[in-house]
């Protein structure tokens, strides 16, 4: 069974820098982590490998520095890794990103693809389902638990909704999007870290994928959506701040405001 986990390296969202010309994120120099949902996906894949055998390949589309995220995944126990990176891919929206990653996945091969539900920078939750559509395979999103794999190719998974859940049986090849709850990521182990730095991580670039891609449909120029402008939110005007009230005075003031606003 070949499991492929798609991960994203995301900026620590406490520090954000934007390129004022293109309105896209400047990734160099900003502290980075593996997106939380994706890390749970890696863990889920490693657990499946332990239970059922097979291999876990991790792929990441990003700038050259995303190599670090892949090495961390290798150190957790993934078998091999690929970096999907090229100038032509930069500035892609989710449609274009899914087209590129799908082209790479076609080359790499897969039985089960696991992506995170959503990344903490783009926050769209779109790429996973869009990869599944591009590859023409079934998707199960909001995967909260993977119960079993039956007959070597049927995944039994819990699909979460707000008011219910489904227990779904889906045949491979298929794609799951992982909630953070899917699994508790393990730490890298010392041996894994050493191995991770000795492994070669092939880079898949535009030349490798161009037969499966339309250049006019990817990158900043080709994406169906683009950022018109970005701006920091206007701080809501600060209201009144009381630092010196006693608890009783505070309670009195709260009740007065509730009264004024017809809450009580």
């Amino acid at each position: 069974m070949k499991i492929v986990v798609c991960i994203k390296q995301v900026p620590d969202t406490n520090e954000v820098k934007l390129d004022p010309v293109t309105n896209t994120l400047i990734r160099d120099g900003v502290p980075s982590i593996i997106n939380h949902d994706d890390k749970s996906g890696i863990e889920a894949a490693l657990v499946l490998k332990e239970r059922f055998g097979g291999t876990v390949t991790v792929v990441c589309m990003g700038p050259p520095q995303a190599d670090l995220a892949l090495r961390e995944a290798l150190a957790m126990g993934c078998d091999d890794a690929y970096l999907i990176s090229a100038r032509e891919f930069g500035g892609s929206d989710t449609w274009a990103t899914a087209a590129i990653i799908s082209a790479a996945l076609k080359k790499i091969g897969y039985d089960l693809i696991i992506t995170g539900r959503q990344a903490i920078d783009g926050d769209t939750a779109q790429v996973g389902p869009q990869i599944a559509e591009t590859l023409g395979i079934p998707q199960v999103s909001y995967a909260e638990e993977i119960y079993d794999i039956e007959d070597g190719n049927k995944v039994i998974v819990k699909r979460q909704y707000e008011d219910r859940y489904h227990i779904i049986e889906v045949k491979m090849p298929c794609l799951l999007t992982a909630l953070t709850e899917l699994a508790d990521p393990r730490y890298m182990h010392a041996g894994g870290i050493i191995d991770a730095y000795e492994k070669e991580i092939p880079v898949i670039g535009y030349e490798d994928l161009k037969d499966d891609l339309v250049l006019e449909h990817i990158g900043l120029k080709g994406s169906p959506t683009n950022v018109f402008k970005s701006f920091t939110k206007q701080a809501k005007g600060t209201g009144e701040l009381h630092k010196e009230l006693s608890p009783d005075e505070a309670v009195e003031l709260i009740i007065k405001k509730m009264e004024d606003r017809h809450i009580i």
Partner: protein
């Protein structure tokens, strides 16, 4: 020529989701700006009687697809139905609720028809993209949403592809008053489903036994963060909520710690709420939390730390100990109720 604003009306067991009515309400404003119409989209099994409720909520007409395969949400049958509607109707704009269904269906369909999709929009406007050389004066949907964990806002355009698609979270837009006198055309779109369209097997459907609380409906929210000190303290917050007619809610930290159920979580990865009153008790005001509640009409914050970020959004900020203040508030409210009965 693409035309009109279509709103996908999400339904479960035949009941239409609140967010769908909110989006129809918003769509009426956009349609007025565009001088076009609002069309409700219904998909389900034996669903066409629900069309009238969409029209009364503001839709000018409804299109629907009915089939047994659409009884319970599964990605492929719904994607097939919606794609057929798009191909037949050629919408200018297509809106979805950003729910666990919308966020599964919308990207799949956007990919299938090759168009742009913008997620979790907090603001929608019709405006002219001034740098448009091919078609100056063309009106586009300007879609504004938080990004990078809520640190910044971004306005997105889908210039050359149609429909312009967007998802919007429940509780962000407002529905308009119901008008029972409204009428409109209800049209069926026929879709031929094949057995292989059901490409997964639903082995079991388990509905949550305890009726999940919908904090987005609450008039007032008494919300607890790390500063409440213990899970038991939610009992005190609940007392306040009960007296004033509200619900309790929480920041993410306490939910992750198992102190309270996830359906109470407010924030970027939780729910967006806009109650008349939001009391933030022992909540520091991390950006991801604020993103979920800053639209509240009146915000009271209590925190021991006078530099807590929550005070930047609070209408009334009190530096103090929630564990001392809240029990006193319960007593004072009880006395108030007796005195004003």
């Amino acid at each position: 020529m693409s035309r009109d604003i279509y709103v996908v009306a999400e339904q479960r067991d035949g009941e239409i989701a609140k967010v769908s009515f909110e989006l129809i309400g918003e769509a009426t404003k956009l349609a007025a700006d565009l001088e076009q119409k609002v069309v409700g989209v219904l998909m389900g099994d034996q669903i066409k009687d629900k069309a009238q409720s969409l029209i009364e909520a503001g839709a000018d007409s409804v299109v629907y697809v009915e089939d047994k395969m659409l009884a319970e949400y599964v990605t492929e049958p719904y994607a097939k139905a919606l794609t057929a509607i798009i191909k037949e109707c050629d919408p200018e704009i297509l809106l979805f609720g950003a729910t666990s269904i919308g966020r599964d269906l919308a990207p799949r369909v956007a990919s299938r028809v090759h168009t742009g999709l913008t997620a979790d929009c907090t603001k929608l406007d019709i405006d002219v993209w001034k740098a448009n050389e091919e078609d100056p004066g063309q009106k586009l949907l300007f879609m504004t949403r938080p990004a990078f964990g809520g640190n910044i806002m971004a306005t997105i355009l889908c210039k050359h592809y149609r429909p312009q698609m967007a998802t919007v979270r429940p509780g962000v837009m407002k529905r308009i008053p119901v008008d029972h006198s409204r009428t409109g055309e209800v049209k069926e779109i026929k879709v031929e489903f094949k057995p292989e369209d059901m490409n997964v097997v639903i082995r079991e459907i388990v509905k949550e036994e305890h009726k999940k609380v919908d904090i987005t409906e609450a008039k007032c929210l008494i919300s607890g963060g790390r500063g409440i000190g213990s899970p038991e303290f939610y009992g005190t917050l609940q007392e306040v909520a009960d007296i004033i007619g509200g619900e309790i809610s929480s920041s993410r930290a306490n939910v992750d710690a198992g102190w309270i159920a996830r359906d109470r979580q407010v924030g970027q990865t939780g729910k967006t709420v806009r109650p008349e009153l939001y009391m933030a008790c022992g909540i520091s005001g991390a950006i991801q939390h604020v993103a979920g509640m800053e639209g509240s009409e009146y915000i009271i914050a209590i925190n021991k730390n006078d530099t807590a970020a929550i005070f930047d959004v609070a209408d009334l900020g009190i530096v103090g100990d929630v564990r001392v203040i809240m029990p006193k508030l319960v007593d004072a409210l009880k006395k108030y109720k007796v005195a004003n009965a």
